[in-house]
Symmetry: C2
Subunit: 209 residues, 2 copies
Amino acid sequence: MSRTRVHNFAVSLDGFGSGEPQSLEAPFGHAGQRLHEWMFATRFWGPEGATGVDDAFAQQHGAGFGAEIMGANKFGPPGWPDDPAWRGWWGEDPPFHTPTFVLTHHPREPLEMAGGTTFHFLDASPAEALEVARAAAGGLDVRIGGGAAVVRDFLAAGLVDHAHLVVVPIVLGRGTRVWDGLEALEDAYAVEAVSSPSGVTHLTLTRRR
Amino acid sequence: MSRTRVHNFAVSLDGFGSGEPQSLEAPFGHAGQRLHEWMFATRFWGPEGATGVDDAFAQQHGAGFGAEIMGANKFGPPGWPDDPAWRGWWGEDPPFHTPTFVLTHHPREPLEMAGGTTFHFLDASPAEALEVARAAAGGLDVRIGGGAAVVRDFLAAGLVDHAHLVVVPIVLGRGTRVWDGLEALEDAYAVEAVSSPSGVTHLTLTRRR
Ligand SMILES: NC(=O)c1ccc[n+]([C@@H]2O[C@H](COP(=O)([O-])OP(=O)(O)OC[C@H]3O[C@@H](n4cnc5c(N)ncnc54)[C@H](OP(=O)(O)O)[C@@H]3O)[C@@H](O)[C@H]2O)c1
Ligand SMILES: NC(=O)c1ccc[n+]([C@@H]2O[C@H](COP(=O)([O-])OP(=O)(O)OC[C@H]3O[C@@H](n4cnc5c(N)ncnc54)[C@H](OP(=O)(O)O)[C@@H]3O)[C@@H](O)[C@H]2O)c1
């Protein structure tokens, strides 16, 4: 069965999934790279990286996916819809290697990149977007790639089967909140927490059947 | 050296230290007992309780303190200042056994209870209150007992040497926020996270020297 999964989604102690303001120079705002240092240090990120619990979790981001859904603010900095030349942050061979659906109120024509990634732009509800992505995923899983607003919306709509969030021990104070509108989320999920020597805590939410 | 410490302070995934609305029947509001089930299951709480990592942390709440400071909303439900007969939640022998300073904009005469607890009512800044409590603590430590507003205010004022917070894997959605106003708290503290088989994660903040 094709599942819908979130992986490696970092959140600060105070529940922010990115800082502010977002810009071309600072995609995570004042958070900088601090939400993902745990990941940059893994073998998942590079051949010099460490194995261990952070890597074990990080690796699952890669395997078994046939499509990704992301938000407009993950795809580009504020204003990208006005720039017809914007092709995402990731260069000509983005790391998705599947059809990738960008939720936006400013849709445009699909962008075919190298390596199997095609960006499709969708103005649709989470449930509708998931249906389209699922059909494109060829029986594989669909990744909800973020940012915070999109993760939150898909959780709130009850569309996520498995979520891996990484609590990073920093207090951001401002940015985009991940947990808003998710009161009593634990009723629908078995929650596990595993802290790592790196200082982060891996939270997994597995949907109860 | 007398230290200022927070212990066993529970916080939801989304950063709330209590639910709402607080009342005589529901001191933690809609959170009920869910923020402290991990603690009720320890030997610290009762002789049938378990030992283990939760207990090891919980036990530190008890040892080495000469005074406590708490907020008005920990001392009683909304409206207690209008009830001259209110003597706290804890009966005639409260579990503090030291001078205990209640921060309130409605101070009253001290209440001498059994077992060494005397409640003093203070309308003072965190720094002033700490000075008074420290003088009363006889060289022992001062506990910042909560609720969320008081823990937050003492952290924000840079007055806390050690803090133990317990992240409980529930999303409360509403209540009193613990982390507000504490941006970049990690700059001042070494932060450790240890998850427990019970599902909670113990966070310790040790002030950098
Ligand atoms: N913490 C992590 O691990 C992680 C992972 C990935 C990304 N990020 C960061 O998260 C930030 C972005 O997150 P975010 O919460 O600001 O935004 P986001 O979730 O990336 O995107 C939200 C935006 O997408 C569009 N959108 C969302 N749902 C839609 C729908 N159903 N229909 C049409 N459009 C829809 C809307 O943009 P428009 O109305 O403008 O079209 C909305 O404002 C970035 O800083 C990114 O770097 C963090
Ligand atoms: N999560 C935990 O582990 C934990 C631990 C203990 C308690 N709690 C819960 O936390 C809740 C209470 O927390 P809370 O954040 O609502 O309130 P609180 O921190 O207990 O008290 C805040 C109140 O104390 C008074 N106060 C605070 N600082 C003051 C100052 N410098 N000078 C004068 N008065 C001052 C003010 O009340 P007035 O203006 O009304 O006088 C203020 O509204 C309760 O539900 C309690 O059961 C949770």
